[in-house]
Symmetry: C4
Subunit: 250 residues, 4 copies
Amino acid sequence: MEGELRGTEIIQEERVELRSPVLIEGLPGLGLVGNIVVTYLIRQLKAKRFASLYSPFFPYYVLSEKGKARLLRMEFYYARAGERDLLFLTGDCQPTTPEGQYNVASAILDFAKRHGVDLLITLGGFSGVDEARVMGAFTNVSLLERLKREGIEVDLSDNPIVGITGILLSIARFKGMEAICLLGETRGYAPSLKPAKNVLKVLSKLLGLEIDLREIDKQILRFDELKGKLEEIAKRELRRKEEEKLSYIS
Amino acid sequence: MEGELRGTEIIQEERVELRSPVLIEGLPGLGLVGNIVVTYLIRQLKAKRFASLYSPFFPYYVLSEKGKARLLRMEFYYARAGERDLLFLTGDCQPTTPEGQYNVASAILDFAKRHGVDLLITLGGFSGVDEARVMGAFTNVSLLERLKREGIEVDLSDNPIVGITGILLSIARFKGMEAICLLGETRGYAPSLKPAKNVLKVLSKLLGLEIDLREIDKQILRFDELKGKLEEIAKRELRRKEEEKLSYIS
Amino acid sequence: MEGELRGTEIIQEERVELRSPVLIEGLPGLGLVGNIVVTYLIRQLKAKRFASLYSPFFPYYVLSEKGKARLLRMEFYYARAGERDLLFLTGDCQPTTPEGQYNVASAILDFAKRHGVDLLITLGGFSGVDEARVMGAFTNVSLLERLKREGIEVDLSDNPIVGITGILLSIARFKGMEAICLLGETRGYAPSLKPAKNVLKVLSKLLGLEIDLREIDKQILRFDELKGKLEEIAKRELRRKEEEKLSYIS
Amino acid sequence: MEGELRGTEIIQEERVELRSPVLIEGLPGLGLVGNIVVTYLIRQLKAKRFASLYSPFFPYYVLSEKGKARLLRMEFYYARAGERDLLFLTGDCQPTTPEGQYNVASAILDFAKRHGVDLLITLGGFSGVDEARVMGAFTNVSLLERLKREGIEVDLSDNPIVGITGILLSIARFKGMEAICLLGETRGYAPSLKPAKNVLKVLSKLLGLEIDLREIDKQILRFDELKGKLEEIAKRELRRKEEEKLSYIS
């Protein structure tokens, strides 16, 4: 595990043989939607980390957990889950400049290509009020038709897609890959669990996978309960203050 | 269509043989003046796209239209319209830093030179109140005299020219090209249709082209009607609010 | 003493033979804690400067003292103080961008490695109210256990570590080094003398060194006296103003 | 006159043979002090331009004067004025980033060295209230003593020197040159004519040159007259407004 770290570097920790793998990206972004989906899949499918990406284009702080310090990084995982192996990309952050975004995206796709990836799925969120819809974007229209044949319905994105999710999607075809982007409608709260579940459902259909959704349903339930309690506390506090004010005036 | 995309890249989609071509730039800038002019000429002259420019110096989002996603880019078109072929450069954006501006401008001019371009015309807007004048700037004074001999009158720019329009203009002579910049006076509204028409008139004279201006006249008419209606609505709304206020007071 | 100075450069002013040296970093950061500690050790141990680091990633001003001007720089010192020689790194500033931080950190560690360093200790501050605790972070857990065996108690950092102190710590293992980070709790005042003393005590235990702390105790005393006087003046001023106000009203 | 313009480039327009030249820098900075001095000397000594420096680290606009457009640039002039030839460096701007400052400064000094320069004098302003003092900074103390022997008195700078004036001064010794920096005290008004005259007087003594100061005296006089008139107008306007207010109230 040595490197220069003056440019973006991917350090592979384990050699893997992959059968026509699909790469699924879920880096931090709007509402953390993509991040939640990919983290969930990694746990459900018991995916294993095999490579890490480091870059001087990441922000300049490091993380420490119980005294163990490490650089910000992105991580590649793999899982054997169907006819095609799955690669997952998740991580701590995105690059901070346009140059960094292009540089890191290019490094990711070169690495994926060396491992035989010809299909990329990038995941993220888009701003909305209902947390209901899933939007899709594609490198070419035939992908959309394939989705329709398989009974998958997505709205078609007409908006700019910001950050690494968009850059990866659009650079893919320069590297000879096809790519699909799935965006869950979110109010921007982090963590956006419901939007993540919506994306999970579309994604598992697309991959022909049975994903157990009970765990994310529990998380949504817990989150809603917690939210309810916090709102109750806030209301009581407000009432108390108004009463104080009244008694102070009178 | 493959590339590294770690630096600025021009990907040529069609091989073309050009007869002493002139390059006309109309990228997004003040009031979108240059952009409107070049888009108009591309449509009128049925110019054909033959190359695209991609750069990590562009902003880091991508566009999606009806689900079809693509990187921000600049585009080269060509048209056979007179003695000299015409090349057009238009696109989605400008680079975001000084280094990016110089880098992309240099790539554009190297590409143009390889295609035999020895005259560059850059188009843009300048801030004013009348939307009447067209200002010119030049790499050398003989160009100005040539314009005068052909009965073309422009004011002479005495102000800095910001962004890619200025950088291209001034780098041209380092690449052995002559260059003219035409700037339409604009109040900065986008789209600045009248300033664009003013520039179109000077430009077509300069190129010895008959350009049909009826289409842009229609657009101006529609725009003025729309503006009139919006102003009418705003006035009525204002009147209504004042009346409400009066009745509330009385 | 010549160089290109278009990239980060370390200029070695004296050749030194070092016995399994430890590198201790104390560059300017929160509360100047690390800086104070390393400057104190350099003076106490009569360490000698033998190299300077210059970088275009530093801020673009220069220092002048009594008319003698010089670039911003970092400086390497060495001292022979126990079984292992000590290297110190201190300086005027930190790089201003993520790229600069990674670039300079990498240059520092490559230089340290060429001199046989296999243990790095980085020093800094963390934000708190008590100025009592010292927090530690490590590249691997065995270091922590070694500390415990030697009776050294530190809290374990659970927070991000910002800037060169964190980047050096985390890049170290890519260069085949182990690293420890010690952070003194500071209210952010510069100079943070008490937090520096707390770190000094842990550090000298860790290095098996007897460091004379009387000098820093004197500095703390002087600083507290000065602070007391300034507060007294501020109080009197406040009282005077209130009295003026009263006499003005009455 | 061709170039790539993807990096900093110096384009030499005339070959010159120079006798042990001194380089004097006067780029735009605080109060434009250095710029005024060097422009004045160029005119007085009828110095001739022989090279221009272009850089992607300059801001991204271009200048146009009466329609003639050109890139931002720095310019080298030479004059034969005493035992040693004089080189002058002036220009439109400074680089916008630390990297740009180091890059351009290094290019300037490499160019100067190729022309035999071993002494650099950088000029600028420093913030003060009196517009009386001239401050000096040096790469080494022997220069200061040389000044004293020649009866030249300057205050010794104890403050940071910001921008290209400072960076050039401090990088000089890495290129094997000695350097002196002269800073005129300025209230920061541009143009700072009196501070420029103060620096001119010290500089001409230092160079053993007779510089005719009548022209700058005239400029100072005209500037003071103009300032007096503007202040008179401002006062009258203020009086008028107060009278209006009174008549409005009464």
